[in-house]
């Protein structure tokens, strides 16, 4: 089996908005990416 190629130091899908009074960085407005099993951690 081959390990998934995951770069743990890079975040994908960061949305960015720069205005004169606010800098917004958002990650898709998701709620609680959560839990996918006791012995795993496969989502990213």
């Amino acid at each position: 089996m081959k390990k998934m190629a995951i770069k743990n130091d890079v975040v994908k899908n960061l949305k960015t908005k720069l205005t004169n009074n606010k800098v917004s960085i958002s990650f898709g407005n998701k709620i609680g990416l959560g839990y996918d099993g006791c012995g795993t951690h496969t989502h990213k």
Binding site: K3, K17, V23, S26, G32, Y35, C38
Partner: protein, 533 residues
């Protein structure tokens, strides 16, 4: 200045034109007219894709480079970095960090978990407020500096859930093993199976949960595989009613693999049940703790069960590998073992509840950190995923906190709840043997209503601020004390994690590791990656 936190995968923008000018090269966005002049050296790095993440981001936030993974960048006409006046933030803490012979200075925002490393020279300028505008902006964008004109940084990262999407269904409290560290204190001769009325109430309570689109039923115990008829009954009940609710449903189970019957295999295949196993490494490790009622090691039976599952085409998601006195001194052997059997795994220290309180098998301060470091150093030598490496790297290197046990507030009574065979509901499966933490009973009330009880609302607000030691810790933004481990160790959930010392060592080590690979030995890292690919 260097930091992985908030870094992206950058590339050149097609909208940018390059023109040779007197003092270097001008990069100009033909659509927005934004521009920058790079000197010869920096331009060569740009041209040959050799810029580091901070150099790229100077271009990115001016619209002169793009994020490969997300084109969603909006720069309002009103935004102008040159008009910003940044200054130090009182929220930020600093400390020196030695990496080989170099000393870096780390600026960290403890609430966010964001950080930046500065060289000695940069740190001196920071102390004297002599950073240039772009350097201040790199700090500002990470919550490590403030703007005099009150420009805010708004981070909108995934927030903890309000309603559970996962329920651990303890289909029985009986178990065919008597593991020495069992936090639920389960074993043979003392078990009850879930009754049908509890199943019906649990299913209705979860499927009617508002806001949650996908519900996962995770079968545990005791040992779930000792009650396959109960699992089948439960799943068939869900299947019979799920169309009435607008929900997606998933099933998974965590088993010890001692009892892999044809009836279990059929169930797993028919309903696409994800399977995880508990395994502490090779025979000489596993047999020391995962034992039957007579004290006999279970490894051979577990290995046989895994083989049978695989022969029947069942993929095993991963193994929970409990780390304690039986295996903490063998990190290399653990990595090699799981690589050899081709199974992803999550090593984590023994939790201090149930039988562990008598047997004291958990790691002593510093042992888990040393074990983790060695496994981390081997991460590229194996073809399996070590989920603990993944989780800790993610928490130190990024703003994402998607592992519910390493995030404040944790997932207890948020993403997750747990139900016992008699219908008692707990905030987390770790509490399933602790009567004190019963939220209510599904036979009497809905889980949604249990979440509104004052004591549960209080529990859901458990953050670093509510725990004295954590509230003063500079790593609180990337950590979380495990509520049931804290309870087991100190009799109080409002205490630090029992493995706090190790956690702190791991966070520092991961910062050092990143700086070593990306700053001190960047060339070697590139070479390694190219050989690997």
């Amino acid at each position: 200045m260097r930091s992985p936190w908030l870094s992206r995968e950058y590339e050149k923008s097609k909208d940018v034109t390059v023109k040779k000018v007197q003092n270097g090269y001008e990069l100009k966005n033909k659509k927005t007219s934004a521009s920058i002049v790079l000197n010869e050296e920096d331009y060569n790095k740009y041209e040959n894709d050799l810029m580091n993440e901070i150099e790229w981001e100077k271009l990115f936030y001016k619209g002169l480079a793009v994020d490969k993974n997300c084109k969603d960048l909006v720069i309002d006409n009103s935004f102008d970095i040159s008009k910003m006046e940044s200054l130090k933030s009182k929220k930020v803490e600093t400390f020196p960090l030695k990496v080989e012979n170099e000393t870096f200075h780390i600026l960290i925002n403890p609430d966010l978990g964001s950080w930046m490393s500065l060289t000695e020279e940069e740190y001196k300028r920071y102390e004297k407020n002599e950073l240039n505008q772009e350097e201040w902006f790199s700090l500002f964008i990470r919550g490590l500096a403030e703007d005099k004109n009150h420009t805010e940084v708004d981070f909108d990262f995934p927030i903890p859930a309000e309603y559970p999407s996962v329920i651990v269904v303890n289909i029985t409290t009986g178990c065919n093993l008597r593991c020495k560290y069992c936090f639920a204190d389960c074993g043979p001769f003392k078990g009850e199976d879930m009754t049908e009325d509890v199943m019906d109430a649990t299913i209705d309570s979860m499927l009617s949960m508002p806001q949650v689109k996908m519900i996962t039923f995770e079968f545990q115990g005791g040992e779930a595989s000792t009650n396959v008829p109960g699992m089948r009954k439960f799943i068939e009940k869900v299947e019979a009613v799920k169309s009435k609710y607008d929900k997606l449903v998933k099933y998974r189970t965590e088993i010890n693999c001692i009892l892999v019957t044809q009836e279990l295999i059929d169930l797993v295949k028919e309903f696409n049940v994800s399977v995880g196993v508990s395994l502490d490494g090779p025979k000489y490790m596993t047999d020391k703790t995962r034992v039957d009622i007579n004290g006999n090691g279970a490894y051979d039976r577990i290995a046989k069960g895994i083989k049978k599952l695989r022969e029947n085409g069942i993929y095993i998601d991963g193994a929970v590998c409990t780390i304690g006195q039986h295996n903490v001194m063998y990190p290399r052997q653990l990595m090699e073992y799981f690589d050899e059997i081709g199974m992803n795994f999550k090593p984590r220290p023994v939790n201090i509840l149930g039988r562990e309180k008598e047997n004291n098998l958990t790691t002593k301060p510093g042992e888990w950190a040393e074990c983790f470091k060695e496994m981390h150093q081997m991460r590229d030598e194996v073809d399996v995923e070590n989920f603990s490496v993944h989780i800790f790297e993610e928490n130190v290197y990024t703003p994402i906190r998607d592992y519910i046990c390493l995030r404040y507030p944790c997932g207890a009574a948020r993403e997750l709840v747990s139900v016992n065979p008699n219908g008692d509901v707990f905030p987390c499966d770790g509490f399933k043997g602790e009567k004190k933490f019963v939220m209510g009973n599904v036979l009497n009330e809905k889980i949604e209503d249990m979440l509104k009880k004052p004591e549960i609302i209080e529990l859901r607000k458990r953050t670093a601020k509510t725990i004295e030691k954590c509230s003063k810790c500079m790593f609180r933004g990337m950590c979380c004390s495990c509520c049931y481990s804290a309870y087991g160790k100190f009799g109080d959930i409002y205490r630090e994690d029992p493995h706090c010392t190790d956690r702190r060592q791991i966070y520092l080590y991961l910062m050092q590791s990143w700086l070593k690979d990306h700053v001190l030995h960047k060339g070697e890292q590139n070479e390694k990656q190219s050989i690997h690919s």
